[in-house]
Symmetry: C2
Subunit: 256 residues, 2 copies
């Protein structure tokens, strides 16, 4: 084990910002279990592991990965959590999937229309991976999927699902031209109850912003809308959480 | 509108702690939409609404409820959020439901075995209310359902679901004696896949701690275990989030 270099420390500071994550094509995985998971599942290129001085490195299996020590003060500064566990890893960002690669696929694709809460985004990614979704499309206005809190919320599932970012309307038009059907998750009257939705082998499920739902432009595009109905008499509960709603649809579709 | 009294400010300070919430039998709902919701749905006894000096009170429908003004500094101190929206309400804590009241009921009861993340607890409560669960049993080690962040995460559903707190084993034995079946949500080999679970009209669904799952004692009690299986090939995703898992089961049971 060696001490982290100044350049490495500079890099870690930068990776707290989306702009630099994109420029460097790297991101940070923080926490003992999360680092173990990404090392074990081998889905990501883990470049360097950094530990706090007090961290017992022999407790963690790092295999062939280089481990560097960070002074406590610097670790606290670069860590995203208030009470860091003393270990983080820098990983290379996987290449985005191209929509051409999805054209001949079938199954479920999840798309987020301005999901802003990092915990929700991470949970959506984790659940989509669990149910074998083919990709996650993060539309404009969605939180960065490599935001540290999103990565933590995926509980090690980061890297297991191909990611595509961009303008949803553009991407949807291309996918539709290769047979994908877009389904908008929406609580409105025009939406079909999930129970009666007819299965489709190429379905893109769209979940909207936590407070405002799916954007007006998409909602008025004439695409299919589906909803999860409350139990009778439960109208006083306003809505389901976005990650919960999409997860229920993913489960339902896994039954098809 | 009048200024908040010293006693009211003292009370608000206290209500950030569970011990005092229980003693005072009151809790705080924070944020504009959340306060609107609890006022509108009328499920809770909203005693007083407090606003920051800069808050435009005419924008919020308070009906008959008294509104008091708090100095900005004091508001920031008593608020739970880092960037408060300038409005909160003190509500009376509803009485707990007694298990005798559940004996002749049927449907679904949700029980949490040491759910610790307030966001998860709030989401579980919100989803359980949406699907018409009869009650939520918060076992020992579970975060307080009246914790400010839990209340925010319920998105206005606080008060719509009867709550029972206590030792799960004791409560389960009583419920079993009146025909309720306990089902433990667990990823282990002994668990039956959710798809093939036979419906039961009186089911208590138990969800465990985020990291450790359901306690050993309960797991070894011989009660029925159910699980949600991943898609084939997705074994590298470690698990589902606790709130997601219970929500999928709640959906599935709403189909029975």
């Amino acid at each position: 084990m060696r001490n982290a270099s100044n350049n490495e420390i500079k890099l870690l500071r930068k990776l707290n910002r989306k702009k630099y994550r994109e420029k460097e094509q790297r991101f940070v995985v923080e926490g003992e279990r999360a680092v173990e998971q990404v090392v074990e599942n081998g889905l990501l290129d883990v470049e360097t592991v950094f530990v706090q001085e007090r961290f017992k490195v022999q407790d963690v299996r790092f295999k062939e990965i280089e481990v560097c020590v960070l002074e406590d003060e610097i670790f606290a500064e670069v860590a995203d959590t208030d009470n860091p566990q003393g270990i983080l890893a820098v990983c290379a960002m996987p290449d985005e999937i191209q929509y051409e690669q999805l054209a001949d696929e079938s199954g479920i694709i999840v798309a987020t229309d301005a999901i802003q809460d990092p915990g929700n985004m991470g949970t959506i990614l984790r659940t989509a991976a669990w149910f074998g979704a083919k990709a996650l499309i993060a539309g404009k206005g969605s939180v960065d999927v490599y935001h540290p809190k999103v990565v933590r919320s995926t509980a090690g599932a980061t890297g297991s699902l191909p990611i595509l970012t961009g303008d949803l309307e553009e991407i949807f038009e291309k996918l539709e031209s290769s047979g994908w059907q877009i389904m908008l998750l929406d609580g409105g009257d025009a939406a079909e109850p999930l129970r009666s939705v007819h299965p489709n082998k190429k379905t893109v499920l769209v979940v909207g912003n936590e407070g405002n739902g799916i954007s007006e432009k998409l909602l008025s595009s004439g695409r299919k809308k589906i909803k999860i109905e409350p139990a009778a008499g439960q109208e006083k509960v306003e809505s389901l959480n976005a990650a919960i709603a999409i997860s229920i649809v993913l489960w339902k579709m896994s039954e098809w």
